[in-house]
Symmetry: D2
Subunit: 437 residues, 4 copies
């Protein structure tokens, strides 16, 4: 992933240093287990831990000759360990190291992503509670529908990111397995207890059946979940982009002093962060189908998945880490304009209350069809700017047959629309946030 | 989905009859709750259950005029229920009905898909146990690697389908929610207890925050899981296609008497079922990205997701149901040729035992590099048909410095490779299947 | 494709009747060529044309037994033709019939799609010329930027659909090839002149190398182009959805009398057609990757592509036909509100003219940095409603050092922004539309 | 893209140095045109060319403050050019620079990709002609069908890459456009002749309607074509992977001396290059849908496309360049085993000739159904190893009613299958290659 969308902690997971560190641990733990089983001398295992070292440059150098990265690593390791190095990797195959290492890297990545989601959740929660009662118009089809609150909007995104957190936790379980099963996964040359030992040391589960490789349906799920999280980011980003548009302007990304919006138009403050998040969502989702295509490896394994994972393993996790962090910051710093929300809500002369009037009419005995017709007639007038909806209704004789002017006016109460906000907040944030803010 | 890939039970879920039946139940249960709350008369709720009926053709007719399906349904319902019909749907919005109905349909679909997976599992289990000790060559990169058993191959697929079953169960939870929250999801016009009642009656959870619609991240996960299951089908299909190829012919799809393989070449028996499964996997996966794109609806909702779900809701579930059933049947009826497996295994004059020889050499004190060189030298001779690997090794003086002819021959024992099959089977099928077969 | 998104003419292409009709023509033309070459008797070829008939039901019946559609068709054909039928299909293989038939169907589909695009073009052209000088605000990042005209917006979409037309014409060429080359494509059993004859009769080119199948890179391109066209529909749909939103309301989909926007909120007029087009674009694009995955068939062919084409061949072309027709109608009937466009343009007190002021300042000798600072300072005040931009600039002493009040006011002329509209129109619609409207 | 899959020449296109170099040229050419039009002083234009310089580090430094890359570049440029720098970029907007620059970069990339394809074509042509008459079995469904030649296989890939070349040339035309049209694309502040001048200087066409940005349907096509090319690489890669599998071994990737195939199994020579190409195809295709999603920018433009292009612009072109070069090399160095091809062909005792026997039977008056039955009966016996197909046919009395033993034997001539190879080669490589080799 390009530096622009990379953060150091996530990027470090995919650096050679970290990869070889994990390889070393896998090999060294495996030696311990082999020594315990009496397969190799205990001194050999000790020697690996004591003298085992590697140099990234040296490994690269050897790989240029052998064209095989694990052999290059083992060769370099042997240069430090000495003759006992011949006991390293015994009975194992390259995939045992590579796939178990990838499992460790993905769990490391996952841990960061879960922390990232927690920051998104914290920001959403804080701002949701802050704006729990900030009334704004709810829109379906981008058309004014009925009032809601800005806090409720954010609570909906909070609930979605809670689900995303659970999915990410489940995805972590999916990919946190260890395979040390040798060529074609039969444990012919290595005792299954070696795998169990290494797994336990690395915090992984054993892979029930590895066919030399850890099966790629696990990774397909992992990338799918990243795609769903990215889509959740996109939903929030698009909400903010809409709210920031000139005609709506109910919220704005924080605009740093000194920041320039446009080289040509100095007044512009563009939602560039959330537009960027929209683009990043496309990038992260791009990895989903290749990950699915990786599942159907030939027989016990081929290596076609490798290029995909070398590229999209880092790229998707790094981009998602960046996107989540940006999302948290955007929400945290979002500039909210409650007065604009109120002003937009009142556009249209109160027709957002049309559904309540409709219900009041039916409750007074008008048929549903008649009620609909009466309300639509007056709503359309108000919509086209030919009067306030409330006034028009009061002046409509047919409406007057069912509702008095006072009864009509009573339907125009905003509090009516927000009276269940506490209930919904309690569902999302627990009982306390439902009751008190 | 075209009839060729449809099975009646799954297809019926997506028929208008089932959809309107669910709509009716949602409305009628909602009336019960509304009556219980005193919002509508108890007789109205009773009238709905007693006189409520609908006709698909009549609804279509009304929809052609109103261009709104829920209004058309309610109008038709009112034709049967009479004046009490005005209490139906009170405080609700179309999406309450549509999205809750989709949740019910998807859970119904999910139940069938889980049953389908169970049939795949049953077939895989039976055949895996049958061939637990049927030795065959394991292949990496489609090149002979080391021996495994055909049962072990199937056990790997079984383990994958077990995971797929769990994912499908989780996906069912994802989409099994009910939303009866009215316009923009504020419960302004309807008590949250109505939602709770309908949810309980339909076997669904309540949706914590619905913004008129049930959030589409749930459906994105559901379609993603279907994509992963389809990819698992593809992996199995490709294995069988490989095994059936003329040069391998270790297994074959069952070929019915009277079936013709080719209009031109009468001897041909083609793996057309598994090729078809490969294609179906592409079709099912095609729904994943559109489902992700559906997540970012505008504000409280737009209707762009609807077309995608109208098409891919049925298409993906129907295709996956068909594909799973076909997979189960292919596995169940697969013709296996153990003697061909053995013959293929022995091609190459025993070089599949090279890794064991390598280990034996290192254990006798040869360096890893020397061992590798010695084994490769002789393996390459055997590979090119210039002698049997065993004979070549025995004749190699440098090898002879470490291993006696008897020690070399001891590395050529097939039983060595299969001695941990019981352990792996126990991991997958439980302790009994591991121990006894 | 479901009936809701199907139009009869395109759907008919994919009906069995049309498919078997094309099969018949392929076989009958092939017989003519074979007779001409002296391979089969001339009377046989004549008999095929004279007595050749088929019944869809009968073919289905035979296929249920033989499980092979081409054999079923030939059997049914033989029932009508009699003994001469043994000369039919001689030297050919099923794929010769199937793939050449698909080529004919796709060219038929393509012809309709090109006509559809022509209708979109006609509607865009008419409305573009109508609104060539209808001034509205141009928006980048959904933030007001500088004035443009509504006609210019439509001209941009027109130019895109012109490109889409060219792409579709190129895609038609891609898939309009005929293969009658027999098993594995060697012409072992059939003279290449038969292929040339059938190709000429069907209006196709010969396929230079068919490996039993017509290579699927052609179809991958065809589906890719459909995806690009769908994305162009989406762009236009999203423009309209934005323009219709309550706060913008510069244009609206035509709303038929009697149409109901919402079961709950009678005032609503939602952009449901363009939201639907957005969803349809996702559906059409879904076929792109499966079509790419279809390219890599095994060796001379496998049948995995077939399911994908059986489903997405009809689905994507039918959905695109429907979407294009809907697009044409939406554009044709679009209700445009020039006065709203003008009102939105004037929101912000004239800061859309900030770039012109910036340029005027630099032309009077202010440095670019100073000019930017001066303009931004006043634009921000106006943006936050603390005065009209023009007044603020006039009152700014530092600005006054470079520009007189008259010079400032001269930058606020809308005509300045539209003076090159003719030039752009001439590029798109030709010289006449550029000059006169 | 990671270094492993990058080649320097393509990577350099995407380096900051090249990007800023192109920016400089755009600005400087624009100054020339502005000077020619009298908008800016001629000395200013000269000063830009004479003193214009930039430093990547300095631009980065400024961008960290302004958060706007074009402004940072212009500021750095001004540091060198001096006061005349205020005439640079006049009337232009950032997108004019960015999008025109991207067009130049993509045409540069395209030129390399076309060269790469030419190398693939050269390799395919050379090997196709070399193996024009190397007979091997053709396979449908991976089942032996009828004989073909290895040269014919390669000729089919050659024809596909010829099409890919044409597509790439067309894609180059798609993206080779220049936009210098100012904010929202109206040319309000810049004369269209500036655009025409810059376009001509850079070898681009003018963009008929740019809405500040060059429309993204062009890029969607470009990425789609890259996806199709990648799929063509995958098809060739999968062919080779199949041919290299142990049981087939008709061809092998070149294996360098010293290269190690497996850390555990020294005899292995794996088709790792073509497996890698299979994975790279997935990576390149991954960019297709994001590029389609980029089309529907909001109004005159948003910036969501930018992240996608920053990542996939380099990644997809670099990966495709690498993949094409690898493909050319794999084909060029492919080790072909004609004797294995012949041996595989003869497996099955001659049943590959079944279609010819079938035709001979029908020509002697047997009904198609009878012929099919007779051939299938004997083919199945041979298939199951119960005799040679030729012997079985001769011994079949019912066959003997139509064909003498000599007539049967005459159907077993391999030359029969290859007699049209010249004709096909002439189609692909021109008349000379058809006639003489």
């Amino acid at each position: 992933m390009i530096p622009r969308y990379s953060r150091p902690r996530m990027a470090a997971i995919w650096e050679p240093e970290n990869r070889f560190r994990i390889w070393f641990e896998i090999e060294a733990h495996a030696c311990d287990a082999q020594a315990e089983l009496g397969v190799i001398p205990a001194e050999a295992a000790r020697a690996v831990w004591e003298r085992g070292r590697f140099e990234v440059d040296r490994i690269d150098e050897i790989e240029r000759e052998t064209r095989h990265d694990v052999i290059a690593f083992l060769t370099n390791l042997a240069e430090h360990v000495g003759p006992e190095a011949r006991f390293v990797h015994q009975g194992m195959t390259s995939s045992d190291v590579l796939d178990t290492c990838l499992a460790v890297q993905l769990t490391q990545a996952c841990d960061i992503l879960i922390e990232d989601i927690d920051e998104v959740l914290a920001a959403l929660r804080r701002r949701a509670i802050e704006h729990k009662h900030t009334v704004c118009i709810g829109r379906s089809h981008a058309i004014h529908a009925e009032p809601t609150t800005f806090g409720l909007k954010l609570a909906g995104h909070y609930a979605e990111f809670q689900r995303n957190r659970e999915r990410m936790v489940a995805a972590r379980r999916e990919i946190a397995t260890c395979a040390i099963s040798g060529a074609v996964g039969t444990f012919a040359n290595i005792d299954p207890r070696v795998e169990a030992h290494v797994a336990a040391k690395l915090g992984l589960e054993i892979e029930p059946v590895s066919t030399q490789v850890i099966p790629r349906d696990r990774h397909a799920m992992f990338f799918s979940v990243m795609g769903v999280v990215a889509s959740g980011i996109e939903r929030l980003a698009i909400e903010i982009r809409h709210l920031q548009r000139t005609e709506v302007r109910e919220a704005e990304e924080y605009f740093a002093p000194g920041q320039k919006g446009s080289s040509a138009m100095p007044h512009k403050r563009n939602p560039v962060l959330t537009e960027n998040l929209t683009g990043l969502a496309r990038i992260i989702r791009a990895a989903v189908i290749p990950a699915h295509e990786n599942v159907a490896l030939w027989h016990e394994r081929d290596i076609s998945h490798s290029a995909v994972e070398r590229v999209f393993g880092p790229d998707a996790t790094i981009a998602l880490d960046f996107a989540l962090a940006r999302t948290a910051r955007v929400v945290d710093q979002l500039v909210v304009y409650p007065e604009r929300m109120r002003a937009n809500l009142e556009t249209g002369g109160g027709i957002v209350h049309s559904q309540r009037v409709l219900l009041a009419l039916t409750q007074k005995g008008a048929s549903r069809e008649d009620s609909y017709r009466l309300v639509q007639r007056n709503a359309m007038e108000a919509w086209h700017g030919r009067g306030q909806f409330l006034d028009l209704l009061k002046a409509d004789a047919e409406v007057g047959r069912y509702l008095s002017p006072e009864e009509i006016a009573a339907q125009f109460d905003l509090g009516y629309h927000t009276r269940n906000v506490d209930t919904i907040f309690a569902r999302v944030f627990g009982a306390n946030e439902g009751r008190v803010t």
